[in-house]
């Protein structure tokens, strides 16, 4: 497996997510598609942290300086933070979707157009 494969996977996931955001009518499905885009970013972040950091670091982690190890882990830490924030975003999103459903009885985003003129 090379970095290219992971980048390709990430780009495909991102595009599928974006397509879902643009075509889905159910607000929850839109939210799920956005989560897919976040996952694409996570794949890229972790792949970069494995492949794109200086090659010397991958030979023997025991011999490298502490700061360098930190750098190797940056991508993985990034992914962890993205997962956490995405969870918070989903929680708030679902809360707002429930509020929308209570006020108008639908979660179809094409029906949520009171102010469009």
């Amino acid at each position: 497996m090379s970095l290219q494969n992971f980048m390709l996977l990430s780009a495909v996931l991102f595009s599928v997510g974006l397509y879902g955001v643009l075509t889905r009518r159910n607000a929850i499905a839109v939210l799920m598609s956005i989560e897919l885009m976040f996952s694409a970013v996570n794949v890229a972040a972790v792949a970069f942290s494995r492949y794109a950091t200086p090659s010397a670091l991958r030979v023997d982690p025991a011999t490298v300086a502490e700061g360098a190890v930190q750098q190797v882990l940056t991508g993985q830490v990034f992914a962890l933070f993205i997962i956490t924030v995405a969870a918070a975003e989903a929680a708030l999103g679902l809360a707002i979707i429930i509020a929308v459903y209570r006020s108008r009885g639908t979660v179809d985003v094409t029906q949520v157009n009171l102010m469009k003129r």
Partner: protein, 492 residues
């Protein structure tokens, strides 16, 4: 985390602590006015911490800390002070409006304060992960605030804001990860070094794609064309104090991080993105102004006006090459900071005047403001004055701000950009003055006077005097902004 890190984060810790305190207080007291009072007076703590830090930065220079994720410098402190001032005026001016939230007034203040914590943090961050976290800390409470009234319009505004904000976050993150993959680090300084060594135009395709995606993500926050679709609906549907807060504080924080990322991390390829932002600037102001002309709802009108103003402020961002006659650069970013301050005062004055005028009628239509010149002379005068400042006519803050921005464009050999900006300002007079005409010339059957509370009058007086002061004496603030942007520029 060392003690020093806690000291550097003191304003943010104080703000978040205040938010928690407000929620707790809301639980135990029945006097809702007390909650707002505590939220307002409690702002003194972060203010004092920020001023103490300013004193230290003034003596010793920038203070980096917290594992190199942020730096407390004059640039960051300038935005902390602007955000604190805006929050104070918003809390003061919401005093009447919050009665509509019934039981949930404490939560309203707490969400405003949490969002402010994110904004103050955002201006200080120098690392991509921290930038992302601060950005989400800023926008998630804002989405909750937009849906706060829980009626059809408000929830619609909240849903649109949340979904589009999450989408823009995804674009931003993809851009950040591409840049991280290229540079091998998320520190802005390391990225700048990696891009400088790249040699190719824009470093590499990864940095080009990353830069464009990041510009898109931040463009959403500052309501820049073509990421402005959410603005009118969210502004119209959200509670008006939230709209006021969103339009000034969120925009200021967005520009802070945009300046930091592009001036520090991508300084090497500045000519490339300078052209990009110049084009987006022209499109933003033209689209904003043209669509604003057809609006009949005053909140929607101000929403398109804010898109146009994002365009004016982008002029300063594009003018990175601007140099003053004495050889020092920084005219563009310093103009951006000044304009953000001036715009904050102006827009707050406009929005709180509208809150006061529409509190009786409950409608945001421009026609509903007819005859208000007689029914509420002082508030109408403030509104008219704020609108004049948005056009950019002296002696107002808006005039001075535009003068400096367009001056920066001229010094950066972008005379065409300054001309487009001036033409747009002239065109914008049409729809701003239409509101003023309705206020004073149109008549209304009702002659009943519109009364306002002391708090709202105070908020109006503070922001209105701010507009006048910055219009007559721009010198002090300009000295501060010029000192603040020094950290963005390469050491001479």
């Amino acid at each position: 985390m060392t003690g020093h890190d806690v000291y550097l984060l003191a304003p943010e810790i104080a703000l978040a602590g205040l938010a928690g305190l407000v929620v707790l207080l809301d639980l135990i007291t029945r006097r809702k006015g007390l909650v707002g009072g505590v939220a307002l007076l409690g702002l003194a703590a972060p203010l004092v911490f920020s001023l103490v830090l300013w004193g230290e930065v003034n003596q010793d220079g920038a203070l980096p800390g917290v594992f190199g994720t942020l730096v407390v410098d004059k640039f960051a402190l300038f935005f902390k002070l602007v955000v604190l001032a805006v929050v104070a005026v918003v809390i003061l001016g919401s005093a009447d409006y919050v009665s509509r939230f019934q039981r949930y007034q404490g939560e309203f203040y707490a969400l405003v304060l949490f969002s402010a914590t994110g904004m103050t943090l955002l201006a200080a961050t120098t690392e991509l992960i921290t930038i992302y976290i601060s950005l989400e800390l800023t926008s998630l409470p804002l989405a909750a605030l937009a849906a706060f009234l829980r009626d059809e319009r408000s929830t619609e505004a909240g849903l649109k804001f949340l979904l589009l904000s999450a989408l823009s976050s995804a674009l931003l993150l993809y851009g950040m990860v591409l840049v991280y993959g290229y540079a091998g680090s998320t520190q802005l300084g390391d990225i700048a070094r990696a891009v400088a060594q790249g040699g190719m135009p824009f470093g590499s395709p990864a940095v080009l794609a990353g830069g464009v995606l990041m510009a898109a993500g931040f463009g959403f926050k500052i309501a820049m064309f073509p990421f402005q679709m959410w603005v009118p609906d969210v502004y119209e549907g959200a509670p008006t104090p939230v709209t006021a807060y969103l339009s000034v504080a969120s925009k200021a924080a967005g520009f802070a991080v945009l300046l930091r990322v592009f001036y520090v991390a991508l300084a090497e390829v500045s000519l490339d993105w300078s052209a990009l932002f110049a084009v987006l600037s022209v499109l933003s102001m033209t689209v904003g102004n043209l669509v604003a002309m057809g609006q009949s709802n005053v909140k929607r009108l101000l929403a398109y006006s804010t898109i146009a103003h994002a365009g004016y402020i982008l002029v300063g961002l594009a003018a990175i090459a601007a140099r003053t006659p004495d050889g020092s650069s920084g005219l563009g970013p310093s103009g951006v900071l000044f304009y953000l301050g001036a715009y904050a005062a102006t827009n707050l004055a406009a929005f709180f005047a509208i809150i006061a005028l529409t509190s009786k009628t409950g409608s945001d239509e421009i026609e509903g403001l007819a005859g208000m010149g007689k029914r509420a002379p002082v508030v109408s005068a403030v509104l008219a004055f704020a609108l004049v400042s948005l056009i950019g006519i002296p002696p107002t803050a808006g005039f001075m701000g535009k003068l400096y921005l367009f001056n920066a464009a001229v010094h950066a050999d972008m005379v065409w950009l300054a001309i487009v900006g001036v033409l747009n300002s002239v065109a914008s007079a049409y729809y701003y003055l239409r509101v003023v005409r309705v206020l004073y010339v149109s008549s209304n059957d009702s002659q009943e006077r519109v009364s306002t509370s002391v708090q709202v009058r105070l908020a109006l007086a503070l922001s209105g005097l701010g507009v006048l002061f910055l219009g007559l004496f721009p010198g002090p603030l300009l000295l501060v902004t010029e000192a603040a942007v020094k950290v963005l520029l390469p050491a001479a």
